[in-house]
Symmetry: D2
Subunit: 344 residues, 4 copies
Amino acid sequence: MKVSIIGTTGYGGGELLRILAYHPVFEIQSIHSSRGEKFISEEYPHLNSLIEKKLEKIDIEKISTEADLVFLATPSSVSSKLVGEFAKSQIKIVDLSGDLRLKNSEDYEKWYRHEPAEISILEQAVYGLSEWNKPDIIDGKIIANPGCYPTATLLGLAPVVMKDCIDPNSIIIDAKSGVSGAGRTPSKIAHFAEISENINIYKVNEHQHIPEIEQQLLKWNEKIRPITFSTHLIPIGRGIMTTIYGQLTAELTTKRLIELYQEMYDKKTFVRIRPEGQYPAVKEVRGSNYCDIGINVDERTGRVTIISVIDNLMKGAAGQAVQNANLMFGLDETLGLEFIPLYP
Amino acid sequence: MKVSIIGTTGYGGGELLRILAYHPVFEIQSIHSSRGEKFISEEYPHLNSLIEKKLEKIDIEKISTEADLVFLATPSSVSSKLVGEFAKSQIKIVDLSGDLRLKNSEDYEKWYRHEPAEISILEQAVYGLSEWNKPDIIDGKIIANPGCYPTATLLGLAPVVMKDCIDPNSIIIDAKSGVSGAGRTPSKIAHFAEISENINIYKVNEHQHIPEIEQQLLKWNEKIRPITFSTHLIPIGRGIMTTIYGQLTAELTTKRLIELYQEMYDKKTFVRIRPEGQYPAVKEVRGSNYCDIGINVDERTGRVTIISVIDNLMKGAAGQAVQNANLMFGLDETLGLEFIPLYP
Amino acid sequence: MKVSIIGTTGYGGGELLRILAYHPVFEIQSIHSSRGEKFISEEYPHLNSLIEKKLEKIDIEKISTEADLVFLATPSSVSSKLVGEFAKSQIKIVDLSGDLRLKNSEDYEKWYRHEPAEISILEQAVYGLSEWNKPDIIDGKIIANPGCYPTATLLGLAPVVMKDCIDPNSIIIDAKSGVSGAGRTPSKIAHFAEISENINIYKVNEHQHIPEIEQQLLKWNEKIRPITFSTHLIPIGRGIMTTIYGQLTAELTTKRLIELYQEMYDKKTFVRIRPEGQYPAVKEVRGSNYCDIGINVDERTGRVTIISVIDNLMKGAAGQAVQNANLMFGLDETLGLEFIPLYP
Amino acid sequence: MKVSIIGTTGYGGGELLRILAYHPVFEIQSIHSSRGEKFISEEYPHLNSLIEKKLEKIDIEKISTEADLVFLATPSSVSSKLVGEFAKSQIKIVDLSGDLRLKNSEDYEKWYRHEPAEISILEQAVYGLSEWNKPDIIDGKIIANPGCYPTATLLGLAPVVMKDCIDPNSIIIDAKSGVSGAGRTPSKIAHFAEISENINIYKVNEHQHIPEIEQQLLKWNEKIRPITFSTHLIPIGRGIMTTIYGQLTAELTTKRLIELYQEMYDKKTFVRIRPEGQYPAVKEVRGSNYCDIGINVDERTGRVTIISVIDNLMKGAAGQAVQNANLMFGLDETLGLEFIPLYP
């Protein structure tokens, strides 16, 4: 199977290269970037002697003809236009941007402040939360790969929301992200001397991942009310932790909830539930496709605390993209993704 | 005025030295440590040529006779014993440990798992949240200096709790702390290779600062119900951010709430309220005694998000301790504390 | 005395504000920036309630009339033009850029690749290495404030070079710098995700501070031959360490060399020599104007290792600039600079 | 092939697990630690669901019988005793400690201050610098796996030392290491709040890797004189950079030297030579077994600067250990080591 990557020089694109270089089925057919035609090792010297391909201009016809699948690691508002073009051919598409995730165009316009994708494209796009939308992904031609925050949040919330164990008007998510999430283009927020030894909160109650999370929660449980979702920037390179709070509707112990999570994530390789009294740390999934989850019920308040961690470039982007590509081609979803976390 | 410091070689003690070295009224009479008699610059080389005092053994009688005030920068369970001894003399005491903060001995035993201080001592001890307990501090002889997390949390919550603007059963505090909060003794949690590039949650629903926060909130508003309070370790040296969530009981705008905070913190030099749309970052108070607060009301949910940041070694420990000492001696509370944040 | 600052929104300018806000003699008359007219706290929120001045456009005539001294915290090639204008009036000038440091215009063109300043200006400019050029600085009207690397290097080398203890053809300086040295403008080299968990070497044998160091070494000892000088970027905000290697020409012990350094730096408050067996760390001078120096002679090789550390924004920029300003106005050089290092 | 690991809970042991979990030929037979019998995931939660083995006590007879090879990831002075025991059986041994590296027992005693290994063991031990001692390693039964600093240094110096291009009395190595090199046991030097935002120099002219480097350099070129070698601690988790300086003995250009390095490292997969004008950064080899080398000749001084970077836990420890194990069993040396650097 031949795959092409567009937007190769960003962090998501770079991570796709790291995964695909040794993937047993997918072969990198071509890599593309708007940064000009040069060897990828000029942009990413760590790939010297490993990937000696040259970056090419984006040629939709050529890619559509030569590749079986294209990964779009392009920014929002760029992706929607490219998908429109690629959709005319038979090529399968995994889009890592936010452009195809919201089914409601008005929501997209409100939260992204860009022009939305065509409705016909939005209708075709399958939301690629691999663990929970597997049948649709398998049959899909266009995948809207989930955002990094939504992935951690939704995997953490799925069991209690599906099983109606949580007051639908009580969900608060406090998210903390590493700085690679801000992308590779230099900016003030990601400038070393500004963010080192610092913690920032940003886009307070305005983050574009809010409607994405709510859309999926509502699919699982129509009673869900608007959530509170906050994003903090932490001086680490990779990793997201979401600390999720909610009021339980039944008297559940920590032990019982953990059992529920273990049942519901049984056979889902990339989600690991921690035993009682243990909580995941961000570095324990670094460089891997795992989402690790810990749970605690506070008897004093009747509230549950759910801690969910991922590597934002892996399970939060390129890792889940390849997991979805595996599914689309009928492969084992873990293929090429057997990375052990890089610890310490 | 002469002051002595016990527990000088910890981070709290070191910060007291940084402040007191140039304090216009207090003079360092003696410094004490259980680490043996040696020059302080052997423990803290950055003090070479600045503070050439020798560490001494703890001699309660000598200190009581020679000094007007003693700072106890000693661990919990050590402080309570020392205070018992010092209380017999006329010396004023500021205790930076948690030993004297909880009025209820049973709470102390439950959350600290140590033997509590004598009741007579607990009765005398004034909770030293400088901005809100000023009259008691001025008259006090023994100050229980607040914990780092409670300081950030309580300053952030005071207006909405006092003015009854918040559902008393809805308070959730997500706290993030730098690693200096774990003290100076090497430990696994504070080991560089473990915590760098990492985020940890610890003591989930078990942190000993929970009853301290609730005790003060209940003094302000007896309707307050148990809070949810989580603590995360972030790979920075100094700094705490608390992100506080609560359901508003009235329809308040961000603008109106900011006005309320500005009114209630008027003339309180060390609390700075950010204008609408701006939020404080941890490094913006580094090395200073400020607590900076930002506020946002989400119309979708009716919830308020309050962001409060401090330097845990300053406003969260040594800075507030000196602020309280200033008050106890009738001085301007800002004396010797005019540090501009070290940015970047 | 009234002072103005041009280039206030960069890190050097910000540090000048931190120092001057409480300086007992200098008063900030006006602050200037090309970023537009707004309150400085919009650029630097940590200065909220502390410095409420508004940034102004650069008006050379107004500044010359109203201020006694102007600090230029402007980039190379901008400074030279401004100095040319200010030099026509009576105002004293401290230029923090590299524009006035090299006496030889051709050297400037070769290493900086900009047009050099006018020769008459270069002739007037005094190289402001405070500890060693004090008489000239006192009499100076225009100060070329030294670079960060040259300051650490020259203070480390002065005794052995002046006293001819070192083979003039053997000097190798391995310098390590924090990322604030790259300035406040976002750039790839200072992008968090690129430099965190990383070490870079840059401008190998091409750094513009090489001729600055050699020029001063030659003034001290005309036998000095070209040096090797390397610069590494380290993921910390502030701080420079230079590790300096050289072949000793006489049989000197570590002890004897330390005595020499102590003699030669006697009464020079801001240089602290460590005792035998101790070496300075970068954080031990953070936020202060100190340069700490440690020395070791290796009997196996006959080489000396000199370790010199500074805070690049203080002794390496704004701190030394104020020290020079103090000297120019006949004040004690330490005035307003009594900052204890912020440790940890 | 069955392998056992002793000292599994340290960082070297943990990295062996990461490599061996998916090694196509080696199978982990047993893992051992002095920390007691428990699941490895209790010590390393990131291995949950990946490696479900239990740590065992060290039973030399059992290991010797059941495994074909044992990795000793044990501290110096522990390894020498274990090797003495294992050497009585047929099992192959790779020792990651410093105990077997120095052929001269007196040197060991002087630099390590422990009792040396038996002479018969030292005579059998092959110094496992994979790229240059391949024939001996292939035939070896006991491998002394090189130290992290020596690996980076020796790979950087080999061509110029072998080809006699460098003044044998001019070699200076300035090494910078991440904090994981200090091991997993909490200590002051590796305490987060002490080393974050800091740079330290340690063991000045006293590091035990000095004789190891000199021993190998002398095997390559008997004219080599004592080197200067300095070690700095940098606030990153993984990675070593050595900046190597030396006086060239012939007029060589950067271009010519790079060609020499390319020729001499041709077919040596894990050493990558950068093209002219490019220099490796530590993060560009993170998590991989590569050693990347950059070279610059300064015409002004006639000195060469060689920059060599490795991941200290991979090529500097566990990676090279597996590379050597591959060679000992006649396998391709890259087997199981095809890790692409984790960037960013």
